[in-house]
């Protein structure tokens, strides 16, 4: 029986195309603003990512097969596996936070997908809530090319990178190495613990850990 980590790595290998040795991530972008969808799409494409942009949380769930139909895991209905979800926070109907919760509460491979929240508002309580619910990062809009590049590196290498930007709040794992040990048993993942007073949130949930730590073996 494969461990979740092995399954995750296999899925990454299967789904990620290799072009000149550099893997192509597939990102699902969710935003109700047409202008923002166009910008994020361009930011991602210029960073060599495949993009599927949808206008609402409901559409996102439909795409991910979470709308009541038989769960297809993290494979979109067009057969492409999703490596990252970037969602706006404030959307009519389902907010990005609600979408985040639905994804993280799914007991399937779906909750393994990193979710990043984007918001024009830099509200501490909102940021905390999102990170607590399992968001990988909370980006303050407008999103920049540097943000996307950093995210991409993070996802591909399965490690956190500190950009030094103070306006972007992200969790930092206790062991923030640049090169990871070959095998990291899930059981040794740090428990979820954080100091609300600190701007850095150490550790992460075990499910997020496995995604971050699965190095791509090409």
């Amino acid at each position: 029986m494969e461990t979740a980590r092995q399954v995750c790595r296999r899925n990454l290998q299967e789904s990620v195309e290799v072009c000149d040795g550099s893997p192509e991530l597939h990102v699902l972008a969710v935003d109700d603003s047409l202008v923002d969808r166009k910008v994020i799409e361009r930011l991602l494409k210029i960073s060599s990512c495949k993009v599927t942009a949808v206008e609402s949380g409901t559409r996102a769930l439909q795409y991910l097969g979470l709308d009541g139909e038989k769960g297809k895991g993290s494979v979109g209905f067009d057969g492409l596996k999703v490596n990252l979800i970037m969602t706006d926070y404030s959307m009519p109907g389902m907010t990005g936070y609600e979408l985040l919760k639905k994804i993280k509460q799914e007991s399937s491979l779906l909750k393994e997908i990193p979710v990043v929240i984007m918001s024009s508002e830099n509200i501490l309580t909102r940021i905390d809530r999102c990170l607590e619910e399992g968001a990988e990062e909370y980006l303050v809009k407008p999103v920049k090319l540097a943000d996307v590049k950093r995210l991409k590196d993070f996802i591909i290498r399965g490690e956190g990178k500190d950009s030094g930007e103070t306006r972007i709040r992200k969790r930092r794992r206790q062991d923030d190495h640049t090169s990871l040990p070959q095998s990291v048993p899930l059981s040794s993942s740090p428990a979820l613990a954080f100091d609300p007073l600190s701007t850095l949130m150490p550790s992460s949930s075990p499910s997020a850990c496995s995604t971050k730590r699965a190095k791509l073996r090409i």
Partner: protein, 150 residues
């Protein structure tokens, strides 16, 4: 070649003035960085979407504030959208006005909102005219055989 050099200088100066006057901010530069040979019209396309979106929102705002009983939640939602899209293209003055606008919404202040709407309409009109002029200068430069300085 003299004509091209002159056009280029005109474009550079005009562009600089928009930033100096605070009409555009850094985000507009970010958008220009996303434009390349494979997507030569990206900025014009995004800005066009912004124009369409804004005109729709300004229209909705006018209607909402004319109502007997103003639905401030609705007004706020529209302003929030306008604030977001203006921020995304770097229309700094419009974005800043939206912040004040939202405060009036919170205070349920119809008069304040109406005043803000007028100001936003004015600034929107200004940034639209300026950007259209900028794009025209770019087209003229390219037509004369020049290239847009990065």
């Amino acid at each position: 070649m003299d004509g091209v050099v002159q056009l280029q200088k005109q474009l550079v100066d005009y562009s600089a003035s928009l930033f100096d006057e605070g009409i555009l901010d850094e985000q507009f530069n970010q958008l220009q960085q996303l434009q390349d040979e494979s997507n030569p019209d990206f900025v014009v396309e995004v800005v066009s979407l912004f124009f369409e979106d804004s005109e729709r929102l300004l229209n909705e705002l006018g209607k909402a504030l004319e109502q007997q009983t103003v639905d401030f939640k609705k007004v706020d939602a529209h302003v929030h959208q306008l604030k977001g899209s203006s921020s995304s293209i770097g229309a700094q003055r419009v974005q800043k006005l939206c912040i004040g606008f939202r405060n009036y919404c919170e205070e349920l202040n119809t008069e304040g909102c109406l005043k803000c709407l007028q100001q936003v309409k004015h600034e929107y009109s200004l940034v639209k005219t300026k950007l259209e002029t900028l794009f025209k200068l770019e087209r003229q430069l390219i037509a004369a055989g020049g290239s847009i300085p990065t």
